[in-house]
């Protein structure tokens, strides 16, 4: 019936990924809260919010990279606004390491330290990639479970 796909290992992985993420500090309790909100009325809520976050993050990282490259002078006020936005949205989705990277970034931006900011931006990109990778794995597993006729175990 499961057409060769090992449902047990799919479901196990599906449970494992968020646990591992939380254990590694990639996500915090807020992410669990989001998963608890998912129900029959909005079965893709977490995926939708995550997609919005990915878009937001990529745009802001890109804007900061451009701002930091400006030869005539870096607009640190713009950098600060980007960090503030990203800190807010990462906090809302429970992306703890991205949020912490923003907090560290802010101190270099406040100090108008271009080199420090470049390093922070790199760290931020790294944390973002890590998170995106994990979440996309989770969503892929979810699709596989549903495609194989299984149902998604809900968080309570």
């Amino acid at each position: 019936m499961w057409h060769g796909i090992d449902m047990c290992s799919l479901v196990y992985s599906f449970a494992f990924v968020p646990c591992a993420c939380e254990h590694q500090g990639i996500v915090d309790d807020q992410f669990t809260q989001l998963r608890k909100l998912e129900d029959e009325n909005s079965p893709h809520f977490v995926m939708e919010v995550a997609s919005l976050f990915f878009e937001d993050c990529e745009k802001l990282i890109n804007n900061m990279a451009i701002a930091l490259e400006q030869k005539q002078g870096v607009d640190f006020k713009q950098i600060d606004e980007c960090i503030h936005q990203l800190k807010g949205s990462s906090s809302s989705i429970g992306a703890m390491r991205v949020k912490n990277a923003c907090i560290a970034f802010r101190s270099f931006s406040d100090g108008q330290n271009r080199e420090g900011c470049l390093r922070c931006l790199q760290q931020l990109s790294h944390e973002y990639s890590l998170l995106k990778n994990k979440l996309q794995t989770l969503f892929r597993l979810e699709k596989q479970i549903v495609a194989a006729g299984g149902s998604i175990p809900r968080v309570h």
Partner: protein, 167 residues
């Protein structure tokens, strides 16, 4: 569809310029069985309420929950405008912010906000809204009953007015 006042869902107006937070607050409110309208600015909130024009408006909003940091009109500006409006000053307003700044929190609470939520807002925060909404509904029903009594028996109203506490 006409429903008895006690059965109608409470209607909450949510104001936040960030799409992710708007989606989140909308979900939290719907999960708690509220009817939700979400807008992305204070200006749009006022337009929705009908404050920006003198046209008769049919929309009934039972509570407004607003982000503090927004471009243009901040959540605090919106709070002040609501509280200064004769039509809407009795609507409970709740403010939210991702920044934990005591002076900001105190200012909002002193100037009329019922609650101040720190983001990320959770279901436990949204649960705190119900008493403010129930109190308002009870007060509205009491006022309606008093108004009905006055129509029925004008002699009794003089004594009533003496007892009424004007806030």
């Amino acid at each position: 569809m006409v429903m008895a006042a006690s059965e109608t869902k409470f209607h909450v107006l949510a104001v936040d310029d960030t799409l992710i937070d708007r989606k989140l607050i909308e979900k939290l409110l719907k999960t708690s069985s509220y009817q939700v309208t979400a807008v992305d600015s204070g200006t749009k909130a006022l337009e929705f309420l009908g404050l920006n024009n003198n046209d008769h408006h049919d929309v009934e909003v039972n509570l407004i929950i607003t982000d503090y940091c927004m471009p243009g009109m901040t959540g605090y500006d919106l709070l002040r405008k609501i509280k200064e409006s004769s039509s809407f000053k009795d609507i409970p307003v709740v403010t939210m912010s991702s920044d934990n700044i005591p002076s900001r929190i105190n200012r909002c609470l002193e100037d009329g906000a019922e609650e101040f939520f720190l983001k990320p807002v959770q279901l436990s925060d949204v649960n705190k809204l119900r008493p403010h909404l129930m109190k308002r509904r009870t007060q509205t029903n009491v006022n309606k009953r008093k108004a009905m009594d006055e129509i029925v028996s004008p002699d009794r109203t003089r004594a009533r007015y003496n007892e009424l506490e004007v806030k």
